[in-house]
Subunit: 373 residues, 2 copies
Amino acid sequence: MTMDLTFLGTGSAYPSPHRGASALVLRTEGECWLFDCGEGTQTQLMKSQLRASRITKVFISHLHGDHLFGLPGLLCTVSLHSNPVPTQAPPCVDIYGPKGLRKFLRVTLGLTGSQLLFPYAVHELETSPDQSPPEGQLADELSTERGPPHPQERPGRDIAPEASSGCFLLFQDQRFAVKAFRLFHRVPSFGFSVQEQDRAGRLNTELLKEMGLKPGSLYGRLKAGEPVTLENGRVVLPSEVLEEPIPGRKICVLGDCSSVIGEGAATACGGADVLVHEATLGDEHREKAVEHGHSTPKMAAAVALACGARRLVLYHFSQRYKPGALRKEGDEDDVAELKRQAEDALQGSSVEVTLAEDFLTLPIPLKRQSVSA
Amino acid sequence: MTMDLTFLGTGSAYPSPHRGASALVLRTEGECWLFDCGEGTQTQLMKSQLRASRITKVFISHLHGDHLFGLPGLLCTVSLHSNPVPTQAPPCVDIYGPKGLRKFLRVTLGLTGSQLLFPYAVHELETSPDQSPPEGQLADELSTERGPPHPQERPGRDIAPEASSGCFLLFQDQRFAVKAFRLFHRVPSFGFSVQEQDRAGRLNTELLKEMGLKPGSLYGRLKAGEPVTLENGRVVLPSEVLEEPIPGRKICVLGDCSSVIGEGAATACGGADVLVHEATLGDEHREKAVEHGHSTPKMAAAVALACGARRLVLYHFSQRYKPGALRKEGDEDDVAELKRQAEDALQGSSVEVTLAEDFLTLPIPLKRQSVSA
């Protein structure tokens, strides 16, 4: 199963002609999961190889405009480009994000008379006062919409953190477990962890053939974990003929933050294959970064180390950092310097650093190692 | 006084990489007035020669997303790029549009914690049931926000049409009178008419010199319409020394529509120098256009003729019409055909037709003719 991550916008604060506002897509088996949706995301999608109609889930890290203002328009355009099958109810688009998101969509879609050809549900994450300065908290009267739901809105869940882990379980199925965890920012912010489930190892077909078992449905049953009885009465256990399970991949995407809150991030991001972390400003601007609830490369590197991540991807750069290709001689700010700062901080570790740019696609290869390795 | 019109987005339905969503700017003496603000307008602005910080007034024709979703982000970016003078209160940005717009901004700016460095006021136009099919009307409970105003929100007016003309007087000062008028669309839509006030004609300086009056402050008083008494006791009347007044220019911008409602448009747009009218689809798709509340070139031409406009500018093209430069051989839809259709419909008249493209700037020259001509 191929998986990749495409950055649609890597700029902070606002979209510019050289850096889109925050948005990235995790693609897996043709499904697209969108993380954040700054203004212009739908246009960035059109410029990319991805298809808007494949978006089935959306995760909004926090309610700042540069992560959110593109969402109503994106949903409208997904709808315009969808091809509903008349005999089949279109699947519901699930949208996860902080409390207040449901009202945001209800009001923006409602006032603009935007009809969608598919249902959507907003699942709101409970925020806590330690996630932001007091002025970043939304009063209940602001974040709760008392008006009727949008015609295509389906009831969403209100999700509280699990007391044991501090994580928010968003959903879990045969393929994935997806969790959120709390971050500190000027407004309550969240990170997301996508844990692919471990998959059955390869069948040892040579051994099966020796046992007299020919390729067919019994192979499938063994791979699915069922024992199989041969004609001679012998019971073959899956563990006899399956190689070590293939461990699932883990991709973590953190929203804007100057630090994590509680144990959630460490629990959810432990051993991440890819950890996407903001680095709005260089280490020399650390004070300013923290004042605005943001991180520098060194701060991002510390999170990657604490989580035992394999790869740290930096994004969400101040618009002062032009993409490498557009940088002119004499320009003061060099985005490559952000990478060097993270690498310096990670010296001696095996964490690799990647600098995201708009339209970068990062393949996330299957792991070859066994779970027990 | 120079005046020009810059198209930032000429596409309908959604922004695409080749056509932005609806937005255009009327620039006059360095001030920018924005008409509609689809998603991505702020990025289009950055790509243009205009400066976001010069925007002092915004006019929203109707509440569809492709005309509105860019507004919260644009205001935030205008704020980020503003340079407030510490000793001076920043001027209020006046925003005009249909009922519901105040709530839209209050909720989008409020939920996203967007602080602006300037105050803004939303002046809402009363809508009427004949402006759209019943399903396009916004229920009062949807369009009225009961929550507290945004910290930078100032009280706005609720504007009703004048019974005599059917026009909504938005404001009037020494330079301009700006009115709105009703259109029919899937949701209530408006057009706007900007009437520059007539200006005093040139001073006949030869005559003044013959009278013994030297250039100086008395010239200014005469030009401002005041009589002046010479040293010899003679009273010079402005009418004696001023040439014919220079008539003001009139620029009209219509929002999405399949027709005008009432007499407002004819009153407000009579003799327009420039009439900007949508032409979403070609005449061969008239039925579909009207079904969606839109116009074809022939329909736009009829409005231009009825108003006695001098120039008809077509915009708001279906995204199926690529800009001329991007059109490939074999492409079925040719935007140039829309211009031909309007020209055919205007044969025998003196109305000129212009096809808008993103980033087209149309100068609006001073009129040379006198008012009485």
